[in-house]
């Protein structure tokens, strides 16, 4: 089938999409956007998190066809040219990135939290990121990064 979808502000089209393909597969393998990651492909790890019509979803759990006519924003669409989004900047600065495989999903999840809750407390940050697994960092520096990004967003 053919899928038309707006990705990071651009109108995109993919042909010969098999009905069983996920949005994650569509993005990674057909649209050349491998930033969203394939760590579990069953909605447990959050590393494939993207905005679908402005709502964060696990793109591995969305069928490619469900994205027809809708708007997707991936981790590749967060920076403005060379300028990183403040969340991305904070992740690098705080040492929240090690292997980085969880990073795209966490960056999108943290981005969503900070735009909803400008001054999140630690328990709120933890709840918001509870669907994103990280195996390298023990989460401490991810907490630092989100606190830093939220502080910068407020100032």
């Amino acid at each position: 089938m053919r899928v038309n979808v707006t990705v990071n502000g651009e109108q995109r089209q993919a042909d010969e999409v098999w009905e069983g393909e996920s949005l994650l597969f569509l993005l990674r393998e057909r649209l050349g956007l491998p930033g969203s990651k394939n760590a579990c492909e069953q909605g447990e790890c959050g590393s494939c998190t993207v905005y679908l019509d402005d709502v964060p979803v696990c793109s591995c759990l969305v069928a490619a066809g469900q994205a027809q006519g809708r708007e997707v924003r991936t981790v590749e669409g967060l920076a403005q040219g060379d300028r990183l989004d403040p969340v991305q900047e904070a992740f690098v600065e705080a040492g929240a990135v090690q292997c980085g495989f969880c990073t795209p999903g966490l960056v999108v999840a943290a981005h969503d939290l900070i735009r909803r809750v400008p001054d999140p407390g630690d328990p709120e940050i933890r709840e918001a990121l509870a669907g994103n697994l990280c195996r390298c960092t023990g989460y401490e520096k991810i907490m630092d990064a989100v606190r830093l990004a939220a502080r910068r967003a407020r100032s």
Binding site: W18, G20, E21, R28, E29, G32, L33, P34, G35, S36, K37, N38, A39, C40, E41, Q42, E44, C45, S47, T74, V75, E76, L78, A79, L84, Q88, E89, F91, V92, E93, G95, V97, Q98, C99, G100, F101, C102, T103, P104, V107, P123, I125, R126, E127, L129, A130, G131, N132, L133, C134, R135, C136, T137, G138, Y139, E140, K141, I142, M143
Partner: protein, 739 residues
């Protein structure tokens, strides 16, 4: 997207001792860092692996007819299509690339499919007909050596005895215990993946996520029947490793499909296949007896340790040596009788995981130290300090610990921290069970526990452990610029940052480019055993020294130290192989010998709240003190301590690959739980920098020690809260409730 990873030039503006940003950090937060699973090639096909559903079975027949008929299928391969040697392995070549007439574990690769779409490959795979004669699996590690032999030499992979002092010593106070450690998974997030591209010279270029390029290269070449120079590996982006990428997974398989079809072949495991596709941490059964005098001073330790290596040897031999030689922990004991056995069974193969043999032993010996404290009515930290080793102490192997071993100091550091207050207001998010609203504090008991651990750093037992580094220095655009190249795998830990820091410090240049890691340069050794900063760091420092020597020659008789003036149009290009000091094999009868290069130590204090009615545990705080010799990058050191501690927490309370008759029951992140941000508490960390005079910059391996002491500290805290013996990890709710 290019298959060859980007050269890393950005960001670093700090030398050693500072915490510059990772040179790959921007790529990673933008989603532009190319992991092995992201690779794409014009005209590529997808590979899939048919795996055995049985832990132990004879293969009666394999019929590929129907699979080959599926449109879009390019190849279906079996062991008959392996042109070279069909056996590989890190220490013993005992594992088939593709099974021949028997399968020894559930998930063992039997056949391969190459197709135009991953779904086509899966559908074709389901049409391969394999007839099995199912056999009774060997699953008990304690009796495996007397059971059906699974390999020609029987089921013993290795036995390491350690004998020191009086073998018949007796003591006033004796405590005994039998402990069990479940099978932990590395659970790196980036699945096994790679892309094999057939080359015009009949060779293959493999872009791969691994921990050791050169050992992969040798094994792939052997299986393909190709000379080494026809098998070229480039490290792709690696999504974590933790030991799980030391063994081959899809490397040979993708190359077989690519060479057979003439098409670039990509293979990516999904999470379920990943659980079958790599080795795990050895489950263990450990019998211990500690004898002490009335002051708590240890008189003797006796231990019998069984490690389940599963169906193939992998690195079991080295894991056995670690568990045996580190089996009494960071304590001085004059009389030691330790035996450790690693065995074959039909359980999933086990090999390297962070902590490598030391984790299993530490759970047992630290549980024993708590038991001893209880028997003596002593404080658990005091009994450890009474026995704590220090610089100059003698290991059970007879090896003298010849650099800092601040065991007592580490324990005091975590003990002296103020305890977190018990909250007076109820916030569900602080409760065991969290917002599941399982308690408002009723039935919740707090406990505090301590542990300390020891780990060897670098490869041991006489292994020729080295790394190769190349540094090129020249003037580019009026600026001195260095280029650094190794084959040492960056798996997420930040080795690329450390390499830039070292070159900047040694050569005084700002601009340092890290070339992609590949096999065009000599061996970098394994990214394991907490060794890369030590060994490849040492090699990089030595390569810089060789460059400086050339610079000194250019400077002779000239009155300038300015690099641009000195170099002019010259290019200095030096490659150096660097070795740490040699070690010795263990005596096969007594286990004596200077087998290890260096020892690392960490201590933890855990504070837990336990809902004793439901068996739910909330780790409230988890503090750590560790000696790192020298923190080349303090932020990365903290990251290692925090991440390693989290994996120890996982083993303490949730992580286990559960098997029944050799079959894995929970191969998914739905059923195999790893800690989330809700499970991992805040940590306070003390980092000591007591330089090791034998190591480059005084460094001490950092990555593994925090994983070792984290688990027993948490279990000790749960025991303190519940009064239960809890001889097994992970501790499950039913172990606490008794239901």
């Amino acid at each position: 997207m290019s298959l060859t990873p980007a050269e890393l030039t950005s960001s670093v503006s700090g030398g050693i001792g500072s915490s510059p940003q990772r040179p790959d950090g921007h790529l990673k937060v933008r989603g532009e860092f190319a992991y092995a699973s992201d690779l794409w090639h014009e005209d590529m096909i997808w590979g899939a692996t048919l795996r055995s559903p049985h832990p132990y079975a004879r293969i009666v027949s394999v019929d590929l007819t129907e699979a080959l008929k599926v449109p879009g299928v390019y190849a279906v391969l079996t062991h008959q299509d392996v042109p070279g040697r069909n056996l590989y392995g890190l220490e013993h070549k005992d594992q088939p690339v593709l099974a021949v007439d028997v399968v020894r574990y559930q998930g063992e690769p039997v056949a391969l499919v190459g197709a135009d779409h991953p779904e086509t490959a899966l559908r074709a795979m389901k049409r391969i007909e394999v007839e099995y004669e199912v056999l009774t699996p060997v699953v008990d590690m304690e009796t495996a050596t007397e059971d059906t032999p699974l390999h020609p030499g029987g089921n013993l992979v290795r036995h390491v005895p350690v004998r020191r002092g009086d073998q018949n010593a007796s003591a006033e106070v004796v405590v005994t215990g039998r402990y069990e450690v479940g099978m932990q998974d590395q659970a790196f997030l980036g699945p096994e993946s790679g892309l094999a591209v057939p080359a015009e010279d009949g060779g293959i270029d493999l872009y791969i996520a691994t921990q050791w390029l050169h050992v992969d290269q040798a094994q792939v070449a052997s299986a393909l029947g190709l000379p080494l120079d026809k098998v070229r590996l480039t490290l792709s982006g690696v999504g974590g490793a933790f030991g799980g990428r030391e063994d081959l997974s899809m490397q040979v398989h993708a190359c077989l499909l690519a060479l057979h079809t003439g098409k670039p072949t990509k293979m990516v495991y999904n999470r379920e296949e990943s659980f079958y596709g790599h080795v795990h941490r050895h489950p263990a059964v450990l019998h211990y007896e500690h004898g002490a005098d009335r002051t708590g001073k240890l008189v003797y330790v006796k231990a019998k340790i069984y490690l389940d290596g599963g169906a193939y040897a992998s690195s079991t031999s080295a894991v056995v040596a670690n568990a045996a030689t580190l089996g009494v922990g960071p304590y001085e004991v004059d009389n030691v009788t330790v035996d450790c056995w690693g065995v074959y069974t039909n359980n999933p193969p086990c090999g390297a995981m962070r902590g490598f043999g030391a984790v299993q032993a530490a759970f047992a010996y630290e549980s024993q130290m708590d038991k001893l404290a209880e028997a003596l009515a002593m404080d658990p930290v005091d009994v450890r300090i009474v026995n704590a080793m220090s610089e100059g102490s003698v290991m059970p192997t007879g090896q003298v610990v010849d650099s800092a071993a601040p065991v007592a100091q580490l324990l005091k550091l975590v003990k002296d921290k103020p305890l977190p207050p018990v909250s007076t207001t109820v916030d569900l998010r602080d409760m065991p069970g969290g917002v599941s609203n399982t308690t408002h504090g009723e039935g919740v008991v707090r406990g505090v526990g301590y542990a300390v651990g020891i780990k060897n750093v670098c490869f041991s037992e006489g292994y020729d452990d080295y790394s190769t580094a190349r540094v090129r220095l020249q003037v580019i655009n009026g600026e001195p610029a260095a280029l650094a190249h190794t084959a040492a795998c960056e798996v997420g830990q930040g080795l690329v940052t450390i390499m830039q820091q070292i070159v900047r410090t040694e050569l005084g240049v700002q601009r340092v480019t890290i070339l992609p890691m590949d096999t065009s340069i000599g061996n970098g050794g394994s990214t394991s055993a907490s060794r890369q900063t030590y060994v490849t760091g040492g090699a990089m420092k030595a390569a810089c020294a060789a460059v400086k020597e050339k610079l000194a020659r250019l400077a002779a008789g000239r009155n300038t130290t300015d690099l641009v003036e000195l170099l002019g149009g010259e290019v200095i290009d030096e490659t150096v192989e660097w070795r740490h000091r040699a070690t010795e094999p263990l005596d096969p009868v007594t286990g004596q010998g200077n087998a290890h290069v260096q020892y690392g130590f960490a201590a933890h204090r855990a504070v837990v709240d336990v809902d004793v009615e439901l068996g739910l545990v909330k780790v409230v705080e988890l503090d750590c003190a560790q000696d790192v010799g020298k923190a080349l990058n303090p932020q990365a050191v903290q990251g290692q301590i925090q991440g390693g501690t989290a994996q120890g927490l996982g083993l303490a309370v949730m992580e286990e690959i559960q098997t029944a008759d050799g079959k894995v029951r929970n191969p998914s992140f739905t059923d195999y739980l790893i800690p989330t941000v809700l499970d991992m508490p805040p940590m306070r960390i003390d980092v000591l920098e007591l330089a090791d005079p034998n190591a480059p910059y005084g460094v001490r391996g950092v990555g593994e020690p925090p994983t070792i002491s984290s688990t027993p500290a948490i279990v000790a805290a749960i025991r303190a809260a519940t009064g239960l013996a809890l001889p097994r990890v992970p501790v499950r709710p039913e172990h606490i409730t008794g239901t």
